[in-house]
Symmetry: C2
Subunit: 375 residues, 2 copies
């Protein structure tokens, strides 16, 4: 079964000089993929030629005359650049021509255009960004939201937890992945009001057997692998992720400087090169590149803007796996099955529930459609 | 000039077995200090004996019969354990018998008891916790708040920025240290409402020449050393700090595992041992131990609960330096000079300012007193 993925070749700091070789490498390695390269045709063809891949049977090119830059506002991306590579790559999902899309472009624009074109899954108020981080158990910790939502309400975090749970269940083959709520302490009394109310919602789900809620986790638990999933609002998630990237770069710079500081240290590093290589591999942020935009009726993956071809290839890999393991229909089904009866949460807490409140009204005919679309 | 510091010997995961040897080591290295060891006398004397320091001329013991545990609530610490080592160590500041206090005890209790006994500096609504982190420029980045305030208003972050600025100015001898506001992007339009309003307050101070406000910074800037000070609310700060600690432990564990994974790697590590030692020194979290509780009318330093004697000694060093460089009077003066005329911020924004509003009412006789107290 071939899985088709569109690549926004113009996104990111390096554009086609990174995205095209990454696509070629992935296509050469994965016989079940077909990649649609979207962007300025001339530039893409020049890159393909450089790597002698002009006539690769599983690489095609779709021209897009506009490019969304890192500085473009969401407004510009949505209203002024209707022929951008990002938008055309996403439209291919909507037109059911591809099953997923990868872009290294402006995150705000990618989220806004994706949301506008694809809409959200029934039961999801706001999409979230989810990525993986390495942990001490040598496995991935999935963390969301990472910046799509800087102001959240408890019901949003609740939905993030459910979506994350479905994602990990599909990608890692775990039937009941553990969910931790990021907080300033483990005890129930810790944290701000938003976190406390979210914990109450998640505990209720846990009691119903709908989710495997571990409880509060702290910052260090992300890298200890205490839970499979760590849920937080987009402000906290974004700052934490970027701080970790910054610390990672500091560590790399200290290691490089010190191992190059004398002939003896260089010799030692040469002798222990298999250790150095393993360290570099295990801590290489490129291996963790490729964040999912969860909650949309389509699979959209965001690569880091500064990713190199190796990192970008990982983002394509994640998109491919997500399509292969049918993440979209799993999330749709999970959200539908796990969400409380269709009524807004505050109403329910006040005891004035309406059986068909707005927002969470789930129409089963709609639930099936994303799955069919991407099948 | 001798600087006296009280040590809450019972605080932390290890109590006197860590705090007493750390105090002895510091006293042996710093002839201008005098340390008052507070806690269960028998245990402290046993430790002193172990290190043959029973009759050290600059170490004295003050008995305290109660111990605040990590699980004790703030309530218990404040109302039930009035003879705790933590409280007695802090009372010594109030009684002007010492100039600073160090504790590795329960952070919530330490903040509550300090605040109750010492009160806040005029113009400061809420104290904040400030620590240093390593950066790529091989200098410290000061970050606050780290967990004292999980729900903040813009005026609180504003005060944190002013206090941080005064602290760095004193500790690092920089006349105009740069202040960054932690956000999800550099642009002014990024972030939540709280951050945007804080930025407006800090920009106004910058225009008046009262503070060197750099603008928004992102998580990675903490470790890049983009600014001397990074300001955030206690929720974000706590999570970021703990995530960094977690990542640090992950890196350490990967390095250790890989360099021990074969004879060749062990040999390489042995040959490059000066590099390994330098790496371990530069990234050792113990070197950054010792957070200040800023905004109180007294110098209180918090050691990490799990600190070893080496780390605890660093916390004592920071308390000593803060007293030596007269951080308290500098913060008091800075806050007094930099704070807007005495009126609460919301009132001013609504144009109904009262010249002597509550909260920020500064009485110049009060401003002088903390300095005199600790002189």
């Amino acid at each position: 079964m071939t899985i088709k993925i569109s690549i926004d070749c113009m996104g990111g700091d390096h554009g086609p000089s990174v995205t095209v070789p990454a696509a070629i490498a992935f296509a050469n390695r994965e016989p079940e993929c077909e990649l649609v390269l979207v962007g300025l045709e001339e530039q893409i063809r020049a890159e393909l030629k450089k790597y002698k891949a002009q006539s690769h049977s599983r690489l095609s090119v779709v021209h897009a005359e506009e490019v969304i830059t890192m500085d473009d506002s969401v407004e510009t991306a949505l209203r002024r650049k209707k022929k951008s590579s990002m938008r055309i790559a996403l439209e291919l999902i909507k037109e059911e021509k591809v099953r997923a899309c990868v872009s290294a472009g402006n995150t705000g624009a990618l989220m806004a255009v994706s949301r506008y074109l694809l809409k959200t899954i029934p039961g999801v108020d706001r999409p979230a960004i989810c990525t993986i981080l390495p942990n001490q158990k040598d496995g991935p910790t999935y963390m969301l939201d990472l910046g799509a939502n800087v102001d959240c309400e408890p019901q949003h975090l609740h939905q993030f937890a459910l979506m994350g749970s479905a994602l990990v269940s599909a990608m890692e083959g775990k039937s009941k992945p553990t969910v931790g709520l990021l907080n300033v302490g483990e005890e129930d009394i810790k944290g701000n009001e938003m976190v406390k109310q979210t914990a109450a919602l998640l505990r209720a789900d846990h009691e119903k057997g709908l989710i495997n809620f571990y409880g509060n986790v702290e910052g260090n638990d992300i890298f200890e692998g205490t839970t499979d999933i760590v849920v937080c609002d987009g402000f906290v998630g974004n700052v934490t992720l970027k701080a970790s990237e910054g610390l990672g770069r500091l560590v790399k710079s200290v290691l490089t400087t010190e191992f190059k500081s004398s002939i003896l240290n260089m010799l030692g590093a040469l002798i222990a090169r298999s250790a150095i290589k393993a360290i570099s591999r295990r801590l290489n942020p490129s291996r963790y590149n490729g964040a999912s935009l969860l909650g949309l009726r389509g699979l959209v993956f965001k690569s880091h803007g500064s990713a190199d071809a190796y990192g970008y290839e990982w983002a394509i890999q994640r998109a491919f796996d997500a399509a292969k393991y049918d993440v979209l229909s799993r999330i749709t089904t999970t959200i539908a099955a796990l969400m409380p009866p269709p009524e807004p949460i505050p109403t329910r807490l006040e005891g004035t529930a309406s059986p068909t409140g707005p927002g969470l009204n789930i129409d089963s005919s709609q639930i099936a459609s994303p799955q069919q679309k991407t099948a």
